[in-house]
Every structure is written in structure tokens, then in C-alpha cells.
């Protein structure tokens, strides 16, 4: 580094480049003082300067020049410095612009007035060139940092919005759900909501042959960006192992071995995979630590959970999963959900828990459509539109009672499955096919 040179630009300006490009408005009614201030700043390579001779001109130039910093004389003939300060601060775009007030006053009371009026700092008269430059640089850098921070926040929030949309696009569309449901001769409704913009839950439908289809529901530990990135990985993996879509236990073992390599220690995913076979009247499934799905039966007027267990994906290599088979008769419906549902809490009331869900399902009238069933259990769990979600939550209802004896209305939103059930009012009504 070269020795200090008093004529060199002030050192220590990390964002010096942008500081030197800054627009500075010099407001002073005395022409020679304006000239002196400009000469001092120009000697430090600040060249983007404009001048105002009175208060009104200052306010006009604030608007047309949009300065990054205002150097303001306290005493101008038409509008006093305090009033200029207040008027500038009233405008949203100048809420945090540095205003350096030049004053000969060192009266403590007046100092208070000055800062209350919105001044960022003051410069004493007579003008001290080094002090002037130092304060200008400090305030411009602070302002730059604030602006960068604000830009950064805006950028992150728009990127998160894009990521949210991408994640929503991973989920089955309403049309996709309807196509699978029609082929299989049953009804499907779903609900997904994240605790923040993006989340760690993922579900999907995998059409198989002969009206059969697979449905999976995954939940990564944690929520937010890391968990969300993992849902994208998992989505790709699930579709990579197409040959295993008919083999629940095999698919889980394969996904587990892949995720063990991808996930850091302490992170895992619970995973449930169910193959729905309407023709055979059964479901075949395997679970990796997911909350057990609940099956209701109209003829038996009962609801009960599938008791099955398995080590979550991504913890230990070489895990073997079991396949379970369960009848899925025409009077049955199946509820799949992530732990966000039974574990939901608003911090005051008790969690509904798995047992509470089973009890609730037993008391819900059999006639209601899958979507209304979801609405009803959300309500029972304490989840409503406005409430903050502590965890990502997914609920899927698969109802075989398409040929139900009671005519019913299926209400659907036009959006993708994302956030539909509780947040989008019904926009379309489709008669139950058999009605």
C-alpha cells in the first residue's frame, strides 16, 4: 500500500467505487460556501453534485435529482432546515436517505430538534474538509449497505416465491388427480400447506396398469429451504425407479440407500407408499416411519389405523422394509397424512394426535365427500386459513365409495392441489359420477 497522501481519496471506503458515484445535493444559500463544499467533495472524486439555493429548490431537486445524500444548511431564507428535513422525510423514498445538516449551533436543545426533524448527522461550521468527507463517506456506505440488504431481501423473497411455485408444480395437479381417480373408479382429495414459503413435504401419484396406482407421501425432517431441496431430489429419485413402482418394499429400500448417501447425519425422511388396487379390492403398502394411514369402513362404521413400522429413509444403509396388504372394499376410504396434522398445535390447545384423528373420523358422517372430510378434520385439528403452521402438512383422502348410494357433490378448486382444500373457495362443482 502506498504511503498516506493527503490528496488521495479517503481510504477505507470498501464500497468506495459506488460511493464516489453517489448523487449529492448541496443546499446552501451562500454561493461561495456552495463552491467550497463542492470543491472539497470534487477533490475526493465525488462528481455527481447538484446545488439548491433555498428550501423550495431543495425540495424540488430532491424530487427531480433523487440524491443519495443531502448536505443541508440549517438556515435558508425561505424554508428553515428543520422544515426541509421534515418535508423530505415525509416522502417514502427518502425515509432513510442520509441528511447531513450544517450548523454553527451547538446548542443542545437545538441539536435535539434537529435529530427529531430527521437529520442523520450534523457538520459544524466553519467547514472542516476532512470531517465533511469522512461523514459523507460513512453515511453513504451505511445507506448503500441498507439498500443492498433491502435488494437482497427482495431478491430472496422473489426467488422463494419462484421456488414455492416450482414445488407446487411437483405435486399432482387437480386434473392429474381426477384422471387417476376416474381410471381407478374412486375419488381423491388433497391438502398441502407449508410452514413457510417452501416445505419438506412431498406427495405424488404414480399410475400403474389396470386401474392401479401408487400414492406416496414423504416428509423430510425440518422445514424451509434444506428440506425443500430434498423434496426435489426425492421427486427425481422416485421417478428414476419406475420399475419399482409396483413393489412398495423394494422402492423404499432403494430410496433409502440413495438417501443415506445424500442426507447429512440427523436428517431423514419418513415415507409411505401405497398401491391402490380397486379391482382386487386391496391396498399394498410399505412405510418408513410415516404416521400410519387411517382406513374407514362404512359397513362396519369404523375407523382404524394401519399398524406398520419401518426405519425412516436416509438413516442407515441396507434397511429391509415389509409389504403389508389390507382390504380396500367399496365402502372404504383411506386417509394419508404427514405428522403436521396430528402434531399441529397453536401453542395453546392440545394436539389432536393419531388417536384423536381416528375418533374424529368415526364421528364424521359417512356421506360427505373426500374434500369435506379433509375440511372437517382440519377444523378438528385446529387448522384454519389464518393460522400459522408450525410444520408442513399434507393430507390425502382416497375414497372408494364412488358408487355411493347417496348422491353427493364433489367440490373442487381450479388450482393445483396446493393449498386448495382450506384456502381456495370451491370454484367448480362436479356431480358424483354415479349420482
Amino acid at each position: 500500500m502506498s504511503p498516506a497522501n493527503p490528496n488521495a481519496p479517503a481510504e477505507g471506503a470498501a464500497s468506495g467505487r459506488s460511493s464516489r458515484d453517489a448523487r449529492i445535493l448541496i443546499a446552501d444559500d451562500e454561493p461561495l460556501t456552495r463552491k467550497l463544499l463542492a470543491a472539497i467533495l470534487q477533490a475526493q472524486h465525488f462528481s455527481n453534485l447538484r446545488f439548491a439555493e433555498n428550501g423550495q429548490e431543495t425540495l424540488d431537486l430532491m424530487q427531480s435529482f433523487q440524491p443519495d445524500l443531502l448536505l443541508l444548511d440549517m438556515q435558508m431564507p425561505d424554508i428553515g432546515g428543520l422544515d426541509v428535513c421534515r418535508a423530505v422525510r415525509l416522502r417514502d423514498e427518502f425515509i432513510d436517505i442520509p441528511i447531513l445538516v450544517q450548523t454553527a449551533t451547538v446548542n443542545r436543545r437545538e441539536m435535539g430538534d434537529l435529530f427529531r426533524a430527521g437529520a442523520s448527522d450534523y457538520l459544524s461550521k466553519p467547514i472542516n474538509p476532512a470531517e465533511l468527507v469522512a461523514r459523507v463517506v460513512v453515511h453513504l456506505e451505511r445507506h448503500n449497505m441498507l439498500r443492498e440488504l433491502r435488494n437482497y431481501r427482495e431478491r430472496i423473497s422473489s426467488e422463494l416465491e419462484a421456488a414455492r411455485q416450482m414445488q407446487a408444480d411437483l405435486l399432482p395437479t387437480l386434473a392429474g388427480q381426477r384422471a387417476v381417480a376416474e381410471t381407478a373408479g374412486l375419488r381423491i382429495a388433497s391438502y398441502s400447506r407449508s410452514s413457510s414459503e417452501i416445505g419438506g413435504d412431498l406427495w405424488g401419484l404414480l399410475p400403474l396398469d389396470d386401474g392401479r396406482f401408487g400414492v406416496f407421501l414423504a416428509d423430510f425432517t425440518g422445514h424451509g429451504v434444506t428440506a425443500a431441496l430434498n423434496t426435489f431430489r426425492l421427486h427425481a429419485l422416485v421417478h428414476e425407479y419406475r420399475s419399482l413402482h409396483g413393489d412398495p418394499a423394494g422402492l423404499l429400500s432403494m430410496l433409502n440407500d440413495r438417501l443415506v448417501r445424500l442426507l447429512p447425519p440427523g436428517q431423514f425422511a419418513t415415507f409411505l407408499y401405497v398401491i391402490v388396487d380397486s379391482k382386487a379390492g386391496e391396498v399394498r403398502f410399505a412405510t418408513a416411519g410415516a404416521p400410519p394411514p387411517i382406513m374407514t369402513s362404512e359397513s362396519k362404521d369404523s375407523a382404524r389405523s394401519f399398524e406398520a413400522s419401518g426405519v425412516p429413509l436416509g438413516i442407515a444403509r441396507g434397511m429391509i422394509y415389509e409389504e403389508h396388504i389390507h382390504p380396500f372394499a367399496e365402502d372404504m376410504r383411506l386417509l394419508l397424512f404427514s405428522d403436521g396434522l396430528p402434531e399441529f398445535t397453536n401453542g395453546k390447545d392440545d394436539r389432536i394426535g393419531e388417536a384423536g384423528l381416528v375418533t374424529k373420523l368415526e364421528s364424521i358422517p359417512q356421506a360427505i365427500a373426500p374434500r369435506e372430510l379433509i375440511d372437517s378434520i382440519c377444523l378438528a385439528a385446529g387448522i384454519n386459513d389464518g393460522v400459522a403452521m408450525p410444520d408442513d402438512t399434507t393430507i390425502i383422502c382416497i375414497d372408494r365409495r364412488a358408487h355411493c348410494s347417496i348422491p353427493c357433490i364433489i367440490k373442487t378448486g381450479l388450482n393445483s392441489g396446493f393449498d386448495v382444500a382450506c384456502r381456495v373457495p370451491a370454484q367448480e362443482e362436479v356431480r358424483c359420477r354415479s349420482a
Binding site: Q267, S309, G310, E354
Partner: protein, 97 residues
């Protein structure tokens, strides 16, 4: 979550969720500093655990494993016991009744 250290072990009570990350890690670090070959974590008073809590138990298991020490979980009950069952955590840890 609250915890109480007692001779060579720790008793955890309350609810073990993602908000307990920092305090749980500090507790594990202090357990690792003391020299006994086996540490028992008594879960008898623990009422609730979420998946983040399970993840932290896995991290603790790894930390003890690296230090060539044994972590024993004792007496999970209620929802905690159910979570251990569903996730087969009882096969990943040594769990005593």
C-alpha cells in the same frame, strides 16, 4: 424440554421438538466431557417428541459412537414410545424399559 443431569445420566422431560436444538446439543457436549463409558438418557418423563427430536437423538448416537461411548435410552412411554415403534428407533438404539 427440560433435562436434569444425575450420576452418569440425564433425565429428559416435557416436549422434545425442533426448538430444543441448541440446549440439547449443549447437554450432549457436557455428557461427552464426563468420562463414563455408558450414558443413560431417561425418557420416562418425556411427553412428546417430533421428527426433529428424533433427528437430534440420531446425532447424539453418532457423537457417542465416535467417542467410543454408549448411549442408552430408557423407558420411553406414550407418544414417544409410539414414535420409537413406528420408526423402529428401538432397533437403532439400545433402549431399556
Amino acid at each position: 424440554m427440560e433435562f436434569r443431569l444425575d450420576n452418569g445420566g440425564v433425565q429428559i422431560s416435557g416436549e422434545f421438538t425442533f426448538t430444543d436444538h441448541a440446549s440439547f446439543k449443549t447437554m450432549i457436549d457436557s455428557l461427552l466431557k464426563d468420562g463414563s463409558p455408558s450414558v443413560t438418557m431417561d425418557l420416562g418423563q418425556l411427553q412428546f417428541i417430533d421428527s426433529a427430536g428424533l433427528g437430534m437423538l440420531l446425532l447424539a448416537r453418532d457423537a457417542f459412537g465416535k467417542a467410543d461411548r454408549k448411549l442408552v435410552l430408557r423407558a420411553p412411554s406414550g407418544q414417544v414410545k409410539r414414535m420409537f415403534g413406528l420408526t423402529k428407533f428401538d432397533t437403532l438404539f439400545s433402549v431399556e424399559d
